[in-house]
Amino acid sequence: MTMDAEEVIQERKIDPVTLQVIGGELDTIAQEMGHKLIRSAYSSIIRESEDIGSGILTAEGKQIAEGDFTPMQVGTLIASVEGMFETFEERGQNPDEVINEGDVFIHNHPHYGAAHSPDIAVITPVFYEGEHIAWTATNAHHLDIGAATPGLAVDLEDVYAEGTLFKATKVYDQGERVDEIWNLIEENVRTPRVVLGDLQAQISSCEVGKERFLGLVEDEGYDQILQASEDLMHYGESLMRKEIEKVPDGTYHETGYLDDDGRNRDERLKVDVELTVDGGDLTIDLSGSNDEVMTGYNVPFRGSAEPASYFIVRAILTDTATHDEYIPQNSGTFEPINVEAREGSLFNPSMPRSAFARINQVDLLGDLILKAFSNAIPEKTSAGSGPHCYFISYSGVDENDEYWVYIEVNESAYGGRPESDGLDAVDALVHNTQNRPVEDIELSHPLRIEHYRLREETAGAGEHRGGHGHERMVKFLSDSTITIEGDGNKYGSWGYDGGKRAPSGELKHIKPDGEEITLPSKVSGYKFESGDKFSIKSISGGGYGDPHDRPEQKVYDDYRDGYITKETAREEYGVVIEDGGVDTEATQRLRNS
């Protein structure tokens, strides 16, 4: 069934003023929940990288409001509440009897709606005058859940190897702390103080959300809030449909490859995107992608493949840099978008496959959706971004036999864009975390960062060149173990319309005697000795348009800033630099030849 934006607008029942007022209230509550969580959390993946989500849902699990944090968390709480209800049904439990005032549930099962198992959702029911009316929920990436390797894990046999899985598990039962569960967690994760502290922070933030939401119910009435949130969904939906309607109807198809599954190094994995625009509807079919793999390198469909697809479409079609209007942070904008993936494929694995490590696949997915759109609306897209990050967990055991774990997101860069160069060294396309200050890392862990800087001479050449990736050198001050969830060591990022490709990423283990070992993009539980070094070079962005169309002044500026050499200026851009300036005549001759 197709719909157009005008029909959706007609369905709204609340006037625009009340809608703005209640919408603002709901946003504020969801935002406050996330904010409190970030401020009081222990692990840097929450407090610095802000890999969290927060929201309010109806008792049935429909979204009412959501906080604006990293895109990969968008909409995942809906899937988790859905997963809880599936669990109740499988267990033969009556939800009305199971769910009581004062309960706190945790949930992280990747086959039951979770984004992936390190993201533990804390979900608490909200009761008003004795009736269960809503849920407040937060999601957060936890530092360790007791998987096969510390922090992150790639080479896993199945979902049971992921560590500790929870399906609608109560950690508080009618206000009473369920000590056995807390003990179980404490005894099964490597960094118990951090994980328990962060769970507590999540619970407190759900409590705040509950209190604020009940205040709003008192003021506005529950029915009015429900109607407003429904209208806000319609509002988001009509905004999105209007934008989809502007894209020429048709089917756009793109394919890309991932390095490997983390175990079988020679087998690349196909990612296939078929995008169909039909009026105000958009279908993204991933079924042509690789079969599911026998490691942890699969993608939960509801928890990750869908959110990543929704996100990138929204970033392209309702880009906040070019749109002034209020775009509600809710799942209404996703209503016109239908994502499909064959059961048993990389993006829709079956039990008992593991789906712990899923970020690189959705990075490439986002990049390919963008590439498919570039066939239709190149003025709103870009050349190839990174697209990958290196997600790395560093760990070791200190003098008190206690684990330290640090998870790092190594960024990539954006491709060149219709009006400007790509962004340098920013988090990959479908997420938006923050790095951790070098001084903070060195104050906390036995690591020394020898450099963290832009990767020169690698940006894809173009009229608008790609952004620069980064390079980081880590020196280990004690014996350590790392796991890398990465990709893009075999394939660089693509250029658009005459723009050049950017080279692939590169990882090296450097020993004190100078011996260099090239590492694949994924390793599980890899060992470094004290004094060893680890070199990370991330992917830069591809170029947009013919490099010979780049103004010579910009090429000269890049030379002066040390991004390119004179040789690159000549060979890639056709710009001749002599004696501290551009030789314009020689440049003209070279560019015309």
Partner: protein
């Protein structure tokens, strides 16, 4: 304290410079257009206000100044040609930042610190040196590289150099030595080291703050020199010239020239002080200040004291600047904010703004989009005849036309069915945006806004204050006299204050009591020296506010608690204070988790001169002598508009003790006070209006 101190406040805004002179309990105000070089309008205004008050320049004790020179240089990406010398391997720290995009949902946006870097990459040089926690030198400073780097930069025409090394907050030796070398070789080049500007960990934020300081210091110091010169020429040699800082304290020209990054929120901070003063002189402890102008509104909550912003949220023009600043929330709601429907028939007020130029539709300067001010005009709240003393022609027909065309004709909606209803809808949404902001700053921190008084000022503030109070369920509103120059009045109340801090970063149980005491003492001494250089009798007049930032080991956000010394069981005391604060902020605390002492802070300030409120003539309860006219004005919401016959009063003619029943409107030169139905205003001896219900 000397009797009858004469102080002048001069606050420079984008359009106007506001001047206030206080002589005992007498107050004189003056407003003039800001000149291209604001030192001119400032000095001219200061002289003019003296002439009007009949006071000779040599009698003036101090001139307090709020300036946007530094802020504008940052926002407009101007300032000195700046270089940076930094640790080998970290040339791009200020370019990469926190590797975060400034828009989450975007492909096309720019990141300010990349598109307009504070220091271009070609002027960022690296040298070999390295300090590692807890402050040891793991690689000595290569001095010849420093000389070489500095020479290259100077050769390129760099006027100011930021020296930014990793972990310099733990050991300043390498930065200090680098500064020495540069000053030896190039005495004319300005040098800022990161440990002097802000000795706190997190390199990106510290480097950025230092680069801002380096960039604006030459501009600021030459501006302040010009100002001093002009004032001297006019005969004000005897007056102390003091500059308002973001922390709400004032600094001497000497200090402000060295650390201009501390002045970036000069104007807004003065606004908060002005609100605080209005509260104090009306015996209100807990207040919310609401300062609304043409393009934005500044809101700050004072639970009996000034609150500081979390350094991690402090930025100017999208560049982090982590010096202490008052916690002021700026939102894009001003008189010039535009009301509009988007493609999906969503109704928006702001962030688009017509600003002061072209301004609201009624100015007739080419903007035909309806603004908040246009809504006020069609509702009859702004009187075209008295607006800005009648100096600016405004045409209500243009307001009506804009609302009719862009709102009433745009949708088929009850709330937009007439111009009047549409105008009330504009106010409903504008007020709701402001309400959200106050709510975030109060309820999210456990403050109940209902216990507060709302102080409204700025050109547009007093028109919205009672509406906003109604939304917040606040029952007391204060409007100071001449609210349009509110910020200038705040300048009069600023103490001289210098903040110094250092990162300790140690587990509480490993902190040595003597070391803690020593380091606090050395911060205290540093502040004392700064005060002494300003000619202050430290033993007599100085106050030192000592505090420490703590967190649970592993957390990323510190909480600030008062430092109470190392007597007795000081560790337990710190722990208890911290846990109490943690519980209040987040709702929980951990009994057994290790606490870390992160930063030590000392704010050194000197007793300022008391600013006694002026007193106006008193009269009876009856205000009718001040009534100028009466006409219908719309109140209520767009669902239920209610028209009331509403009298207008001239504020100049009001006397202390007069009581005005709402609905009513009080006009004065630069502002309009709207008193809603069911509210009553009382004129206080200070001339402020207390509006209650």
């Amino acid at each position: 304290m000397t009797e009858s101190t004469i102080r002048i406040g001069a606050d420079v805004g984008g359009t106007n410079t506001d001047i206030i002179l206080v002589d005992g309990t007498e107050e004189h105000t003056y407003k003039l257009p800001t000149t291209d070089d604001p030192s001119k309008s400032t000095a001219d205004g200061v002289l003019e206000v003296c002439e009007r008050a009949g006071i000779a320049p040599e009698k003036v004790d101090s001139v307090l100044h709020g300036t946007t020179v530094g802020t504008n240089a940052v926002i407009e990406h101007e300032g000195a040609k700046t270089g940076m010398i930094t640790t080998e391997g970290f040339r791009d720290t200020i370019h990469i930042g926190r590797h975060r995009k400034s828009h989450t949902f975007s492909v096309q946006h720019e990141i300010k610190h990349q598109s307009d870097p504070l220091v271009d990459r070609r002027y960022r040089k690296t040298v070999n040196e390295r300090i590692y926690p807890p402050g040891k030198v793991v690689e000595p400073l290569d001095e010849s590289e420093v000389r070489e780097a500095a020479a290259e930069l100077v050769d390129e025409g760099v006027e100011s150099i930021a020296v930014c090394y990793l972990h310099s907050y733990l050991n300043t030796a390498h930065e200090d030595r680098t500064k020495e070398i540069i000053q030896e070789e190039f005495p004319d080049v300005f040098v800022s080291t990161s440990n002097e500007v802000v000795a706190q960990f997190r390199e990106y934020e510290r480097f950025s703050t230092t680069a801002i300081n380096a960039r604006i210091a030459p501009v600021m110091s030459s501006y302040l020199d010009r100002l001093q010169e002009r004032l001297d020429d006019y005969g004000f040699e005897g007056a102390d010239v003091l500059i308002m800082q973001s922390n709400g304290g004032v600094a001497s020209i000497r200090e402000a020239s060295q650390r201009p990054v501390t002045t970036l929120l000069s104007g807004p901070a003065a606004g908060v002080l002005s609100g605080q003063y209005t509260g104090k002189s009306s015996d209100e402890e807990k207040i919310i200040t609401f300062d609304m102008g043409g393009t934005s509104a500044d809101i700050s909550v004072l639970p009996g004291r000034l609150l500081e912003r979390d350094p991690r949220d402090s930025e100017i023009g999208e560049y982090p600047a982590i010096t202490p600043m008052l916690d002021i929330e700026a939102i894009g709601s001003g008189g010039g904010s535009i009301a509009w429907f988007d493609g999906a028939q969503g109704f928006n007020v702001g962030p688009k703004s017509a600003g002061a130029n072209p301004g609201p539709a009624c100015y007739g300067r080419g903007n035909d989009e309806p603004t908040i001010a246009d809504a006020q005009v069609v509702l009859g709240r702004i009187d075209p005849e008295t607006f800005l003393g009648g100096e600016l022609d405004i045409d209500p027909n243009l307001s009506e036309q804009a609302i009719q065309d862009k709102l009433v004709d745009a949708v088929d909606q009850e709330r937009f069915s007439t111009v009047e209803k549409a105008a009330l809808s504009v106010l409903d949404v504008a007020n709701s945006n402001m309400y959200q902001s106050v709510r975030e700053q109060t309820m999210q921190r456990g403050y109940d806004p209902r216990e507060y008084s709302l102080v409204g000022f700025g050109g547009a503030g007093p028109m919205h204050t009672v509406d906003l109070a109604e939304e917040l369920d606040i029952s007391k509103v204060l409007i100071p006299p001449s609210p349009g120059i509110g910020s200038a009045r705040g300048l009069m109340t600023g103490d001289i204050q210098y903040d110094n801090q250092v990162t300790l970063s140690k587990r509480l149980e490993n902190v040595d009591g003597d070391e803690l005491e020593d380091r606090i003492e050395s911060l205290t001494q540093r502040g004392a020296e700064q005060l002494r250089s300003d000619g202050i009798d430290v033993e007599e007049d100085a106050i030192f506010r000592k505090s420490i930032d703590c967190l649970y080991e592993g957390q990323g956000y510190e909480l600030n608690i008062e430092y109470t010394g190392t007597d007795g069981d000081w560790r337990s005391r710190i722990r208890d204070q911290f846990e109490e604060k943690h519980k209040q902020e987040y709702g929980h605390y951990f009994e057994n988790d290790p606490v870390e002492v992160l930063n030590l802070r000392v704010a050194a300030s000197a007793n300022s001169v008391e600013y006694d409120p002026v007193e106006i003539e008193s009269g009876s309860e009856d205000p009718s002598h001040a009534e100028t006219k009466s006409h219908p004005v719309s109140f209520g919401t767009s669902l239920e508009p209610e028209e009331y016959e509403t009298p207008r009063y001239d504020r100049e003619d009001l006397r202390a003790g007069n009581r005005i029943e709402g609905p009513a409107i009080v006009d004065e030169f630069d502002s309009t006070v709207v008193i809603n139905p069911e509210w009553e205003a009382e004129v206080l001896p200070s001339g402020a209006l207390r509006i209650t219900r």
